[in-house]
């Protein structure tokens, strides 16, 4: 019995150029079908009333969150499941993430989800918790981050350049915001900035559907 596919394959395995092209072609299809429509789908990329443009401080806090690898143990994605909504709050919507570069949904919940953490605890609680987690949650296995309170938020990269680049990528920062951004970080510790970011997380979802 002759299978046409095997005959075709014999051609490919005798010609290197054809084999390379074949692999490229065959492996490209799935990605193109899934990614291209998503890139052009407005509901995934367009800002709505649920989208929050990070301030200079919040953005710096977010970059500290990334630097310390918080996303390694905490997700930011509340699934539309009863128990999950009970535990964390309203499930996550795509338009809440349009200013997230990169996305921080995570893949592992060693600690709880943080997408709806904003406003749940006081700044003071976060301050103690970050410096010594087990003093407020005895069972916690979270690392302590004592260095955050003694280092400056302004040391986390050139904030003006960051806002400038993000503006180019379509985040609507005004020139004035960009100009004033270094002043906003003046005198703040990295812990201050991180807490400002945590407190805004997931708080902009409006109750009424858009």
């Amino acid at each position: 019995m002759k299978i046409h596919g095997v005959t075709l394959h014999r051609k490919l395995e005798n010609h290197l150029g054809l084999l390379i092209f074949g692999i490229l072609f065959v492996s490209a299809i799935g990605g193109l079908v899934q990614i291209l429509p998503s890139i052009f789908q407005e509901s995934l990329g367009e800002a709505t009333q649920n989208s929050h443009l990070y301030s200079a401080i919040e953005l710096t806090g977010r970059d500290i969150y990334i630097k310390e690898g918080c996303h390694v143990c905490h997700t930011q994605q509340v699934r539309p499941l009863l128990a999950e909504v009970h535990r964390y709050g309203p499930f996550s919507h795509a338009d809440e993430f349009v200013y997230d570069r990169p996305f921080l949904w995570g893949s592992k919940r060693t600690g709880p989800d943080l997408h709806r953490i904003g406003g749940k605890y006081s700044d003071a609680w976060h301050r103690v918790h970050m410096t010594d987690p087990r003093s407020v949650v005895p069972e916690s296995i979270m690392p302590a981050y004592p260095w955050l309170s003694t280092s400056k938020a302004a040391d986390i990269g050139d904030i003006q350049k960051k806002l400038h680049v993000l503006k180019k990528l379509g985040h609507p920062y005004t020139d004035e915001q960009i100009r004033n951004s270094p002043q906003a970080l003046q005198g703040l510790s990295q812990l201050d900035a991180l807490i400002r970011y945590l407190q805004i997380l997931g708080t902009r979802l409006s109750e009424s559907p858009p």
């Binding site: 014999r10 490209a28 990605g31 690898g69 893949s107 069972e139 916690s140």
Partner: protein, 494 residues
């Protein structure tokens, strides 16, 4: 063994030996970090308040060290070794091959330090920042030039099965790597992704899933397709099955990424498509496993005497387990429970320990003594390693199944009043026994790996690489791939 004639052309095996040495060193280092991470989850104060020992920073070091340090070095080593023998010609541009070898080690080493410093793009398995992404791209292209250049010069017309998989590895990973890491630099240690939010998530898991697919699965299948027939002294059982499974694998794998984003804020149709294709993926995955097992099926006797073959056959069993578990976890209703839990970690390790590490260990036990022209320093140590590796992997997987399923079910549990049955910390405190078992499993596996490192470095100690010349080939055009395999294994035994 072919005679050592210095003025005759010989295979370039020195670079293969270096890559194997680096791969072994990375395995020990990265697995040690893994064990340390496992301990931190039980005793969180083990980071001693040091930023560079903090879980969030060294976890990417563990994964990158295993995938790019241990895994890619092993893949480069075996690709360079096998492509010369299946093309019957020495490596194309051997100095470029050395550049790939040492350049890669430099990138992985400095990349590891940068992760400790907190330079990270936060994308899983693509954490390294843009300067490293550029360096990786350059070295990867050089890897491709050496590999495909050797094939272009080949003296055997058909390109052998293992080279399809290594070729797929080089081509697909370069596309995934470049597209996923597109970003605008802010400074040397920071960049912003050109994708945002849900779109970034879709691109990242297209990359993340297929890095597993074409590097940790496809690349290592290339290893199996070359070294298993050699070890078993049999040709590949079915050429046709290898053709069908290769193309089906290459086509279907790419679609499966969205199963990492079930019930997230990406479109439902993308999730559903990812789920369906993940289930279909079981067919080509198992076809390859069956092809491998059937190849050894008349050589079972060798299993009792050859530790290398033992490792490879066991790795195929774990490959079968992991490629069955993967599609199951991709089903939405299973994923509700498993997602975000330790089950994922267990699944990854049934692949990484049971499949990737074991197939590499088997290959190294076969390759190293043969390359330096001697016997393995100690067969006994290799057999002890085998049982340590098996016990370590089983303990690891079983403890993470227990942990993951408990976590998943307890998190979702709701009582008669509609309230959550357990707080997050209730579930967390239940994890200690599982985490402890996992730590023991990891320690056993690490200990076995250290034994292998000792065994293989002792085997290599004071010996130089044997020079091997390509054998004469007659009637090259008429040869089919399957009788290349039989010729290869005959050559292997002479």
């Amino acid at each position: 063994m072919t005679a050592n004639i210095s003025n005759q052309e010989t295979y370039h095996d020195e670079v293969v030996k270096h890559l194997i040495q680096f791969s072994i060193i990375w395995a020990v280092l990265a697995m040690f970090i893994g064990v340390y991470l496992a301990a931190e989850l039980i005793w969180p104060r083990l980071d001693f308040g040091q930023f560079w020992l903090s879980f969030g920073r060294i976890r990417p070091l563990h994964t990158n060290g295993i995938i790019f340090g241990f895994g890619v070095s092993a893949l480069m080593a075996t690709a360079f070794y096998s492509v010369q023998r299946t093309s019957n010609i020495p490596l194309f541009m051997p100095r470029l091959a050395s550049f790939c070898c040492f350049g890669w080690q430099f990138v992985v080493f400095t990349g590891a330090l940068s992760l400790l410093a907190g330079w990270t793009s936060a994308k899983e398995y693509a954490e390294l920042e843009w300067p490293f992404d550029l360096a990786i791209t350059i070295i990867w292209i050089c890897f491709g030039i050496v590999f495909f250049g050797t094939i272009a010069n080949r003296r055997i017309k058909p390109i052998y099965v293992s080279n399809w998989f290594y070729g797929g590895l080089i081509i697909v990973i370069s596309v995934l790597h470049i597209v996923n890491n597109l970003a605008i630099p802010i400074s040397i240690d920071k960049s912003y992704s050109v994708y945002a939010g849900a779109q970034d998530a879709i691109v990242q898991w297209w990359y993340g899933h297929n890095a597993v697919g074409f590097l940790l699965t496809g690349g290592f299948l290339g290893m199996v397709y070359y070294f298993l027939p050699k070890l078993a002294n049999r040709p590949i059982w079915s050429y046709r099955l290898s053709v069908v499974s290769f193309w089906a694998f290459t086509y279907i794998y790419i679609w499966a990424g969205p199963h990492h984003l079930h019930y997230s804020a990406i479109p439902d149709w993308v999730q559903s498509l990812g789920m369906v294709m993940s289930i279909i993926l079981l067919a080509p995955s198992w076809a390859t496993m069956i092809n491998g097992i059937m190849t050894v099926s008349t050589a079972w006797k060798k299993l009792s005497i050859d530790p290398a073959l033992k490792f490879i056959v066991l790795s195929l069993a774990f490959y079968g387990l992991a490629t069955f578990e993967g599609p199951m976890l991709a089903i939405r209703s299973v994923n509700i429970v498993s997602h975000f839990t330790e089950w994922t970690i267990g699944h990854v390790h049934s692949g990484a320990l049971g499949w990737n590490a074991m197939v590499t260990y088997g290959t190294f036990y076969f390759l190293v003594p043969r390359m330096v022209g001697t016997d393995l320093y100690s067969i006994k140590l290799a057999n002890i390693h085998f049982w340590l590796a098996l016990a370590g992997t089983m303990l690891y997987i079983l403890s993470m199944w227990g942990a993951g399923i408990s976590q998943g079910l307890l998190w979702l549990s709701i009582d008669d009043l509609g309230e959550l049955s357990y707080s997050f910390t209730d579930v967390l405190t239940n994890m200690v026994p599982y985490y402890s078992l996992r730590l023991i499993g990891g320690l056993l596996f690490l200990f076995g790996t250290i034994l292998m490192a000792y065994n293989l470095f002792k085997t290599m100690h004071g010996r130089t690489v044997v020079l091997v010349s390509p054998p004469e080939v007659l009637n090259t055009n008429r040869e089919t791939t399957s009788n290349i395999a039989s010729r290869l294994q005959i050559e292997a035994r002479t």
